[in-house]
């Protein structure tokens, strides 16, 4: 990293912190709950797995935080972290895709919108993938699709279950058709996993929509979502435009999807690791 990049990164990270939760109080000692407005001591929030102790609101988690929360201490071994996105269409909207990729890497310290690897959860070996919304809105391009697919292929090789945490605004439009093809690629990988008799647990977090929801997020042997997570194919704004009326409250939230048969479990973050462990035990015993 050049010294120029280092300064840019600092600046971008500061922006990111601000925009990510928008409610941070400088110094980051206190944070305001997005839902109930309660002021929470940041350390308490962390200790509570970033769930508001007052109203139960689930704050967005970064992929690193998620790894810490769900995998057994220090067991996560990342793979394919070197993969990065490529601006193969020389795509420029308000900014070039090449520039966006570079900035996002600097800003988030991540190489793309998913990290993958092996880990232990409740002593069970798993192939673990965790998406991160802070990297270009968790959009799926070639790298997300490739890393997901390699993770599944590794699971087939090692004969271990796959668990993936999704969060995504949809396709990485700057990769155009290639982002669409990632839906095919990742789903095909899950077909192969299934043919090999290995389980896949999908955990949807807020928000999971578009191409990710219409491919690997919905394909769990067990589909789990965190409370009140938006899970949708077309987002609420698109639907409102289509039907030209306001959507009912709770529409496309986890509880709604559970009621409509799309989810097995809506699981609070506090119970998530325990639930995953029980499910892993089910598949193993």
């Amino acid at each position: 990293m050049s010294i120029h990049d280092w300064f840019k990164r600092k600046k971008l990270q500061k922006e990111a912190e601000y925009t990510r939760e928008r409610l941070d109080i400088p110094g980051n000692l206190w944070i305001k709950c997005y839902k109930c407005n309660q002021t929470i001591y940041n350390k308490d929030l962390e200790a509570n797995l970033k769930v508001c102790p007052k109203c139960g609101y689930h704050f967005k988690l970064g992929s690193a935080e998620r790894v810490r929360q769900v995998s057994d201490n220090g067991s996560f071994k990342e793979i394919d972290q070197h993969l990065t996105s490529k601006d193969f269409l020389n795509f420029t909207d308000t900014k070039s895709y090449a520039g966006r990729i570079k900035d996002s890497i600097l800003k988030t310290g991540l190489n793309d919108a998913i990290i993958t690897g092996t880990a232990k959860i409740g002593t069970y070996d798993v192939a673990l993938g965790i998406m991160d919304f802070s990297f270009m809105g968790g959009s799926m391009g070639s790298v997300v699709g490739e890393k997901f697919t390699r993770l599944v292929e590794l699971a087939v090789e090692k004969k271990i279950p796959v668990i993936v945490f999704s969060t995504s605004g949809g396709a990485r439009m700057q990769e155009s058709i290639m982002s669409l093809m990632q839906m095919a690629k990742t789903s095909a990988a899950l077909g192969r996993l299934r043919e090999n008799g290995l389980p896949y647990i999908s955990v949807m977090t807020d928000p999971t929509s578009g191409g990710v929801s219409a491919s690997f997020a919905m394909l769990g042997d067990i589909n789990i979502a965190e409370p009140a997570a938006l899970v949708a194919f077309a987002g609420p704004r698109v639907i409102e435009q289509t039907i030209r009326q306001k959507l009912p409250p709770g529409f496309q939230r986890s509880e709604y999807l559970l009621e409509h048969g799309m989810l097995d479990i809506v699981c609070e973050r506090q119970k998530l690791k325990d639930t995953l462990t029980k499910i892993l035990r089910f598949f193993k015993d």
């Binding site: 993969l83 996105s85 990769e175 155009s176 669409l180 095919a184 899950l190 077909g191 929801s213 639907i239």
Partner: protein
């Protein structure tokens, strides 16, 4: 299907074909005079036909992506049922997902292709507003995708090849569609298509709109008609989200690489099916003939493959998709 016209040229014309309009009208007048028997116009008509052909060739040889989008979406463009009628024999439409509803936006059935039983499916747009309302403009609900899955499994059970015709603005983004699991229906189709043990050929005939298109388009071979498009989002959608200006759709159409030629270069499709001069709607029969030849050509090497080989073939095809730095 657009009714065959008495004149050689179909009446509905595209916006960018306007230069042809005057010539068409002139030709019609000459033909009328000729018919009355008052004057001999054969030579003049012949000349005019040549001019029309040259002009049209000029127009169509240099279509911009935006113009191709117009052709691909043209209301007179032959739809799936038109093609099915011209390509197959003994088509019997099979309705329903055995679950919730029959979706008229996505038609399925069994048919005979040159003596071989096949299963066919495709989004079906209308040729009029009325038809389009009945067919939801070719935008399927989850029921459509579930019906398609049902007939794909039927094909698999009885070892019949599958042909899919792709022509949709996208999966329907409605309240009921979300409620009944549009995402789940498409996702499941993707996984199940990957695992099909039978030969599967997909043709993008018009508009290949995003997940709604892909939901029936994971063939061992994927072909595109010359003036069809295939994209992750519509050009105007892309423009309004990324360029923050829906009016910049033309620019988006170029940037997104949505034409058959682009997608062949990107390795996303396997071949391009030539269209008749002036687009498929100008000669639906010829267009159907071209599609039929293409299907037969693509099916042939797939037919001897074993179940495992067919799955592996499809897996490898989609496994390769993606461009990134390693």
């Amino acid at each position: 299907m657009p009714k065959p016209e008495k004149t050689k040229y179909s009446r509905p014309i595209l916006e960018f074909e306007k230069p042809l309009l005057e010539l068409y009208e002139k030709r019609e007048k000459l033909a009328q005079i000729q018919e009355t028997g008052k004057m001999e116009m054969t030579e003049e008509i012949k000349q005019l036909d040549k001019r029309i052909e040259v002009t049209r060739q000029q127009i169509f040889s240099g279509l911009t992506p935006t113009q191709i989008v117009q052709v691909a979406r043209f209301i007179a463009r032959p739809n799936t049922l038109d093609y099915i009628g011209m390509i197959f024999e003994d088509f019997i439409e099979l309705h329903g997902d055995r679950n919730f509803a029959d979706d008229p936006a996505l038609v399925c059935g069994i048919a005979n292709l040159n003596g071989r039983s096949v299963v066919v499916m495709g989004h079906n747009k209308g040729h009029s507003t009325k038809e389009n309302l009945a067919r939801n403009f070719g935008m399927a609900n989850p029921e459509g995708y579930r019906k398609a899955l049902r007939v794909m499994r039927l094909a698999e059970r009885y070892d019949k090849p599958i042909i899919s015709f792709v022509d949709t603005p996208g999966a329907y983004p409605g309240l009921g569609a979300e409620e009944r699991g549009q995402a789940e229906a498409i996702a499941k189709n993707l996984r199940e298509m990957a695992e099909l043990t039978v030969p599967f050929v997909s043709i993008i005939t018009g508009e290949g709109g995003s997940g709604g298109a892909l939901g029936i388009a994971m063939g061992n071979r994927v072909l595109m008609m010359e003036f069809s498009i295939y994209s992750v989002i519509s050009p105007s959608g892309c423009a309004s989200i990324l360029f923050r200006d829906a009016a910049r759709a033309d620019e988006a159409a170029v940037a997104m690489k949505i034409t058959a030629k682009d997608l062949l270069e990107l390795g996303v499709i396997d071949d391009i099916i030539k269209e008749p001069q002036g687009g498929a709607h100008n000669d639906p029969e010829l267009s159907a003939k071209n599609i039929k030849s293409a299907i037969l050509k693509q099916l042939e090497p797939l037919l001897p493959l074993s179940h495992r080989e067919l799955i592996a073939d499809r897996y490898n095809k989609f496994r390769k998709m993606g461009i990134f730095n390693e």
